[in-house]
């Protein structure tokens, strides 16, 4: 602390960061939590309207997480352990869903399996009711197993191949090695992966909203209370309930993450190959991955075909009219808004997170652990809750002069802070403290040292933060659904509206345009980094 007092500029910068975090992360959330008041909570709890969506949410979470994790595990195991062919192809397919708004899976699902779906009706002549629990379960399983796969693959690949080689060398077979070495070592990582998947699923707003029908879960309940009935108090209470679930899962995940350190004892990943698995297992992995990749391709292929045909699936004549529709008039504005808002938000978020990460990681002032927690907190906050927070806190008459676009950008900046922050902290761990100190001992103030020395070395973290934030901003629906105005509509909002209007051609063309933006960002990033894609997670 004394060292801060000797450098007023640094102290000022720190106070500014703390002020921004308090205003844009803490304040809006507190507003939502306290909005109902004790009386509000009492009558809300007594009213009992929360019980059904609460139970539904837990039901959906349990079912979808289980199935998504099982499928994700198969894919991850195949990618990390087997010697199957086509791995680059499978890797590419596995990334695709991360670059799209998760709720478009629901749209595709309706096109494929709905009452007029090409498979249900077209192939089998059935008109099943797919809305409700089964629909949500199916859609979320498909939408989120790629996320589970990324998380699980990450956890599995952290286990040191040398230990597996050692176990094989001591006479254990492949299955025994997996059971007695790999699994115990990756258990905390796997647990964290499962919990993170569960958070994505319980927070998911778009899929249940599109396919849930009468089956409401907490996020859709909160949305409907506000948009349908203007019942703000109950909505705040419902979303607080949702926040509690997400927060509990997140805190459990942090605990597990903490216990993960022993996996990475060896420091850098070793280049030693994993011991081979039997050929038959590789073949099983290959078939499993092929089926799963096929499902992903079918989901996104349907969207693409629908975007390029007159009236999918009835009239399959090729046309560009949906894309013309997408780029003209207010739709074009929405696309441009998406690009501008997301770019600005990603840039601001990544830079702010980098600086905050440096302040926390390299600082020696008291309270830095609190700031550290607040900076990763948004990762636990459901998008719908975050949106309601900004709606409550900043939708005030005296703030009317603030442009709504700015508000959307700010919400994207601060909801995504954990992404850039964690990238920055990971990057800083690779840079020895003595590098900062060298600059200081040569006469540079700490801020100057940050600018001259640390910042240029963290280019990689900055790029990861930027791209991941951009992708998440481009694909989010729940955060912006309460903040947009006709002039500040973004692509995900339009997709959502068009699906509700049953304008499938327009909706799917919009989706393709939206995903293209995310893909373009990632391709540029890959070209710049030429390294391994360290993509974080996007969610709806």
């Amino acid at each position: 602390m004394r060292s801060l007092r000797r450098e007023p500029a640094l102290l000022l910068a720190l106070l500014a960061v703390i002020a921004l975090v308090l205003v844009f992360i803490v304040y809006p959330q507190v507003q939502v939590v306290v909005a109902p008041g004790s009386g509000g909570y009492a009558s809300f709890l007594e009213g009992g309207t929360w019980v059904t969506p609460f139970v539904h949410s837990l039901e959906v979470m349990a079912l979808s997480t289980t199935s998504a994790v099982l499928l994700g595990f198969v894919y991850a195991y195949a990618m990390v352990y087997s010697d199957m062919r086509w791995k680059p192809f499978f890797r590419l397919i596995g990334i695709l869903p991360l670059l799209s708004p998760p709720f478009v899976v629901a749209a595709s699902y309706i096109l494929l399996f709905g009452p007029r779906g090409i498979i249900t009706y077209g192939v089998f002549g059935q008109t099943p009711i797919i809305f409700g629990l089964l629909g949500i379960w199916g859609v979320q399983t498909i939408a989120f197993f790629p996320f589970a796969y990324q998380l699980i693959a990450d956890a599995l690949s952290r286990s040191d191949a040398r230990m597996e080689q050692a176990a094989r060398n001591l006479g254990a077979g492949p299955w025994r090695v997996f059971r007695t070495v790999t699994l115990p070592l990756s258990r905390p990582g796997l647990g964290a992966a499962i919990l993170t998947t569960a958070i994505y699923i319980v927070e998911d707003f778009g899929n249940p909203q599109l396919i849930g029908g009468q089956f409401t879960v907490l996020p859709t309940q909160a949305y409907n209370l506000i948009s349908g009935f203007g019942e703000f108090t109950s909505a705040a209470a419902v979303s607080t309930l949702l926040l509690l679930i997400a927060l509990a899962l997140y805190l459990a995940k942090i605990r597990l993450d903490g216990g993960r350190s022993f996996v990475t004892i060896s420091g850098r990943a070793s280049s030693m190959p994993r011991p081979p698995v039997p050929a038959v297992l590789s073949w099983a992995c290959f078939s499993g991955s092929l089926v799963l990749a096929g499902v992903i391709l079918m989901v996104y292929g349907t969207l693409l075909v629908s975007a390029l045909t007159v009236l999918f699936p009835i009239n399959l004549a090729p046309t560009a009219r949906h894309f013309t529709f997408v780029v003209t008039g207010s739709n074009g504005d929405a696309l441009r808004n998406t690009l501008v808002f997301s770019s600005v938000a990603a840039l601001v978020s990544a830079i702010f997170a980098l600086f905050a990460g440096w302040l926390v990681q390299r600082g020696d002032w008291p309270g830095r652990r609190v700031l550290d927690f607040l900076l990763i907190l948004p990762a636990a906050i459901p998008g719908i809750f975050f949106g309601i927070g900004y709606l409550t806190a900043f939708n005030q008459p005296w703030l009317d002069w603030v442009d709504r676009g700015a508000l959307i950008i700010l919400s994207m900046v601060f909801w995504n802070i954990p992404v850039g922050y964690q990238a920055a902290v990971a990057g800083l761990r690779q840079i020895d403290r003595s590098i900062d100190e060298a600059a200081t001992s040569l006469g540079a103030s700490r801020l100057r040292g940050f600018w001259d020395v640390v910042r240029p070395l963290l280019g990689g973290s900055l790029r990861v933060g930027f791209v991941t934030t951009f992708v998440r901003a481009v694909t989010t629906l729940s955060v912006v659904i309460f903040l947009f105005t006709p002039a500040t509509t973004v692509a995900t909002i339009r997709i959502y509206q068009l699906v509700n209007d049953l304008n499938w051609g327009g909706a799917t063309a919009f989706t393709v345009a939206d995903i293209s933006m995310a893909i373009a960002a990632l391709v540029i990033f890959a070209a710049l980094a030429r390294g391994r894609l360290a993509l974080g997670m996007a969610r709806g």
């Binding site: 000797r6 060298a438 600059a439 200081t440 001992s441 040569l442 103030s445």
Partner: protein
Amino acid sequence: MHLRVSHITKRFGSAAAVDDVSFDVPKGSFATLLGPSGCGKTTTLRMIAGFYEPDAGDIEIGGRRVNDLPAHRRGTAMVFQDYALFPHMTVYDNVAYGLRVAGRPRPERDKRVNDTLTFVGLGGMGGRWPNQLSGGQQQRVAVARALVIEPQVLLLDEPLSNLDAKLREQLRVELRILQRRLGMTFVYVTHDQDEALSLSDWIAVMNAGKVEQAGTPWEIYYHPRTAFLADFVGAVNLVPARVESVGDGSVTVSFGPHRASVRRPVDVSLSTGQEVRLCMRPESFTIAPAGASANGLALSGTIARRAFLGDTMRYWVKVDDREWIVDQPDPGATETLDGAVLLSLRPERVHVIAES
């Protein structure tokens, strides 16, 4: 005094890493903090640099208290163990960094950087990147980068420990010559007693957060005040003994059946009957086959083990149930000994430590 450290203390949690340490370093001298890892030497150095805040005590440089100055205003450039070169800057830019921060004009900067690079033997290498240099070259860049800003005190934190033995010795010599020529004040931290002995004008040996003893390398090596010190700065025979009588400049001690009159250490009070330890360096002995004539103190024993170290032959000799370490220089010049031997030692080579 150019650098004065008075009563500084630093705690991490409840443990004191540095506990009431004081010392003075005159201008232009080479001072070394020597000690095992965890003794507080690096913490002390980092407090001088301004990277740690002392919990108590003062640090003065050039007569000015610097406690309240941030690290970048102290005029204490530091050379780090891992060099800490800026990987995204060329050698030239690394060395020019401090001058650029100070806002020195370009022509002056160019001249000083090039002069310094030549000075450390890296003339013409300014365009290279750090990762294109060998470890020794990187360390020279690190030194040049710190020297070029002409700091009041140059701090060096184990700068040679990442180099291989041969290069370490070479750079050690260069560093000493450099310091003499510049007349700059160096504070050097190391755990390697050879480095400390060969480089320094003055050494402070630290242990458990305290300075055990400070003095010239000679004093530290031959007249250690504690058993820890004697053992830390080289191989030693530490033999429990008893004071029989205290004379004017000498003291008579007995150990086992032996009795000797040895030099009385200054600044230490000894009384008759006191339990002490005798400190005898292995190279102070003469070893000869049993039956040879002794010169001074004579001990008969048998060789238990030996190790050929190249420049010396080290013997472990059993005398009265106790193993003594004895070094014989230039082993090629004599026959390798075995069996019963006679050790002899001149009494003035025995140092008394008032600690049992």
